[in-house]
């Protein structure tokens, strides 16, 4: 089971919880499991079957360019963060 941290604006859908356990080998599967536990979350995270353009996903603290296809090791931590652009 991975621990998914819920961004503040979405905690209304998780009964105020900041973190939710969920099962899944990839981020996509995790979101499907989350949707079962807290309906409405998927629609807030995805757009057209992909992560919303202004969102990134971090698995164990690492922003992943693979998005929904990123593998999620057991006991991992998953965060949905606002997409951050690099810069010099």
């Amino acid at each position: 089971m991975a621990t998914v941290f819920i961004p503040a604006p979405l905690r209304e859908l998780t009964g105020g919880r900041a973190a939710v356990e969920a099962a899944g080998a990839t981020v996509g599967e995790l979101i499907d499991d989350l949707e079962r536990r807290c309906p409405g979350l998927r629609q807030r995270l995805l757009e057209g079957g992909r992560l919303r353009p202004n969102l990134s996903v971090a698995v164990d603290g690492e922003i992943s360019p693979l998005g929904l296809r990123e593998k999620v090791p057991p006991e991992a931590e998953v965060h949905f963060v606002t997409a951050i652009q690099g810069g010099v």
């Binding site: 353009p53 690492e62 652009q85 810069g87």
Partner: protein, 749 residues
């Protein structure tokens, strides 16, 4: 365990492109000459906000010497396609709209049309004959004004994105997000001292000395050849292909030397325009921006309004922190407020924290990255409030920071856990420095400190290394080199190969000749491209071990390679010796690697500065300035020092004199290097540097990108020093003499 003794890493070789740079032979974009070359000039909107009712280019097209005129109408339609160009997903219509305005011009300086002619004087005169029917609209130029209900709308169709739930009514706020951890209200209830302050920062520009330039040839075979000064040749290729609706393979970008960027040369401005002009005229077209164009028509960093509230107990432990960040995105969304939010409290371990970020469109040039984008604005607020808190708690400002410093395992406000970081080590290095321990005597003098963080990025890089028979190697990579990274990348390959850095010949190749390489930004080149060079060199070593095995008739696994010495049993050979026999042992050896590394360890930076403030004029003189930064492992120490000194002086300029001085009409009054005051040589003391090395476990040599964190602390450190020198807390940038004088008068009332 003591750090491994490296042969090349940590030394200071002369940069490979040095001779060209000091003799004037180095070829920058504006220096390019091509047969039949035409010169372009871009006509820009003089109004802060205007509808483009009609553009009549007939007189310009008839002007003698003019060969082509283009407007946005010449672009293929972009529809609602989204593109990811290394800066996160963005609507193509926004990117294309910023290259040539269509429908509305959103800021003074917004490109409206372009002319190509036999020389730039003719092009400029002809551009003056283009008749544009502007319907001037009301404008708004600050975040707070733009957030009001009645504010003029920059984009009528824009709705505020709130984490997946778009707002219903039109707004200038493109996005609002919130990070929250723990219980903030309870935290503030436990606090015995609370400081809450509001801060304003002005729009500032990266200020690179080389104006943007681009040369394009729409060749007769349909390929678009581009030569330009950019931080991302692949970004230019992909963006230009998208805007012109061409397959990527049809665009080839050759990056020439780049005269500074600091994030401002990541976006695309001229290349698609030059390409269109070339297509219409059938000749190569070069466009070079004037300094005024660079200020008004490229991507400064956001002006911002920030409110920070921090509570702490008497024992100096922070119990809660809250931040409200409203950043000006400029004409198109994307104000780097997300990175501001991520770094505003990044230096501290906070149990209870809430951060609200607002990305607000205004009628100003569309902002681009500027060295740790968003972090300097935020740190100016946080580090000023931390200084006030330390004073209230009667504790040394560094001890107060040390007590709350973020350590490995601490969670940032967005929940992500820190890996090994050097925040504590940087603060301790500041405390133990000769500068901090030295006395500062004399009236009207003060010392200020501040710290800052940048998370750095990995992203993709490619590299190939081919071995020459004389034991040297040719290294091909795709990262445009602003600060000497050709050398810091070559050094990492040399270390693995066990040869001298001078024996590696690095080349920054065009987009046809090297694998995809992401932007030169996010302090990533020495980290990520360096890693690609490390892996490519390992690939070479593997192949050389096979060649030795063939020579000695042993199993390749039996061959050991240590610092360029190959051995198996009694057999011995140097890299050079093996290289000389490549033809006999199987032909050329080429190592290759592509990386998309994680683990780009963030870098912490600190500043100690002593100032004197003239009580009669408010002018701040910097007496002494020290920058401290964690580099993980300094590959080329002189270049690390150079990044720290350059970032510090940009931070000093941002703090003391740089601003976009906007007129009531929403135009920039000081679009020149005379009145946009970047620091001169005569305004500064030597910039002392202390390099801290807390190795980044995520990199073969422990590298942390150092390019950006160093610009973050200076404005706050200077504000804190000015407070001790003149007794006034400055909460608005720039802290120029007039502002400090007015604060002194106000305090005296």
């Amino acid at each position: 365990m003591s750090a491994p003794a490296y042969q090349v890493v940590g030394t200071r070789p002369i940069r490979h492109d040095g001779a060209d740079k000091v003799t004037g032979r180095a070829l920058y974009g504006a220096d390019l000459e091509l047969a039949g070359l035409l010169h372009g000039f871009v006509l820009r909107c003089p109004h802060a906000h205007a509808r483009l009712r009609r553009i009549d280019t007939s007189k310009a097209e008839a002007f003698p010497g003019v060969k082509a005129v283009v407007t946005a109408a010449d672009f293929p339609p972009s529809g609602d396609r989204m593109v990811d160009l290394g800066e996160g997903e963005t609507p193509l219509s926004y990117i294309r709209g910023n290259v040539l305005a269509s429908g509305k011009a959103l800021y003074c300086g917004h490109a409206v049309a372009a002319v190509a002619a036999v020389n730039v004087h003719v092009a400029e005169e002809a551009a003056g004959l283009i008749e544009v029917d502007y319907e001037v609209l009301p404008h708004v130029t600050t975040a707070l004004d733009a957030m009001r209900e009645d504010a003029p709308l920059v984009h009528e169709e824009l709705r505020t994105k709130e984490f997946g739930a778009p707002g219903s009514r039109p707004s200038n706020v493109a996005e609002h997000f919130r990070h929250e951890m723990g219980e903030v209200e309870r935290g503030f209830a436990e606090a015995e001292v609370i400081v809450e302050r509001e801060f304003h920062t002005s729009t500032v520009h990266q200020g690179y000395i080389e104006p943007h330039n681009a040369t394009a040839l729409w060749n007769n075979d349909g390929r678009v050849l581009i030569w330009c000064s950019t931080q991302g040749s692949f970004v230019v290729r992909d963006t230009t292909a998208c805007i012109l609706d061409l397959p990527v393979s049809q665009v080839k970008v050759t990056p020439l030397e780049i005269g500074g960027g600091f994030g401002g040369k990541i976006p695309v401005y001229l290349e698609p325009v030059a390409a269109l002009l070339s297509k219409k005229s059938g000749r190569p077209v070069k466009i070079v921006m004037s300094r005024k164009d660079v200020f008004e028509g490229t991507g400064p960093t956001p002006g911002s309004f920030i409110r920070v509230k921090i509570g702490a107990r008497r024992d100096g432990t922070i119990t809660a922190a809250e931040a409200y960040l409203a950043y000006e995105a400029g004409a198109y969304p994307g104000a780097m407020v997300a990175s501001g939010a991520m770094t505003v409290f990044a230096a501290y371990h906070l149990p209870n924290v809430r951060i609200d970020g607002f990305d607000v469109c205004v009628n100003k040039p569309s902002t681009a990255a500027y060295r740790a984008p968003g972090a300097t604005n935020a740190a100016f607020a946080t580090e000023s409030v931390m200084d006030e808190l330390a004073e209230n708690l009667n504790v040394d400002p560094l001890d107060f920071r040390l007590k709350n410093a973020a350590r490995e395992g601490a969670r940032r406000a967005d929940g992500v856990k820190y890996r090994r970081i050097g925040c504590v080590e940087v603060i301790e290095a500041m405390k133990n420095s000769e500068h901090y321990r030295s006395a500062l005597n004399g009236p009207h003098r003060g010392r200020g400190v501040a710290i800052g963080y940048w998370f750095n990025v990995g992203l993709a890089s490619s590299c190939t290394i081919s071995v020459n028979e004389d034991g040297t190697v040719n290294l091909v990579e795709g990262s445009t080199d602003i600060g000497g990274t050709r050398t810091s990348v070559a050094m990492q390959a040399a270390e693995v190969l066990g040869i001298a850095a001078e024996d590696v010949h690095p080349v920054v190749a065009d987009t046809d000749s090297v694998g995809y390489t992401a932007v030169t930004g996010g302090s990533r080149v020495t980290f990520a491209t360096g890693w690609a060079a490390y892996e490519a060199a390992q690939d070479v070593v593997r192949q050389m071990r096979e060649r030795a095995a063939r020579l000695w008739d042993v199993d390749p696994d039996a061959v050991e390679a240590v610092r360029g010495q190959y051995r198996a049993g009694s057999h011995r050979a140097t890299f050079r010796a093996l290289a000389a026999q490549l033809n006999r042992t199987g032909g050329p050896v080429v190592g290759r690697a592509t990386v998309n590394p994680k683990g780009a360890g963030g870098s912490f930076s600190g500043v100690i500065c002593d100032v004197e403030v003239d009580p009669e004029t408010g002018k701040t003189t910097i007496l002494r300035f020290t920058s401290i930064q964690d580099a993980g492992k300094a590959i080329h120490p002189a270049y690390v020092e150079g990044q720290m000194q350059g970032g510090s002086v940009q931070g000093i300029g941002w703090a003391l004199n740089e601003e976009y001085y906007m007129t009531a009409e929403g135009t920039m009054a000081n679009a020149s290097f005379l009145d946009y005051r970047i620091p001169t040589c005569y305004d500064l003391p030597m910039i002392e540097t202390i390099i801290v090395e807390v190795p980044n476990p995520g990199h073969p040599f422990g590298v942390r990108g150092v390019g950006e964190a160093n610009i973050v602390p200076p404005p706050a450190a200077l504000a804190n020093a000015i407070y001790r020198a003149a007794g006034v807390r400055m909460r608005r940038l720039p802290m120029n003499p007039a502002a400090v004088m007015e604060a002194i008068w106000a305090a005296a009332k």
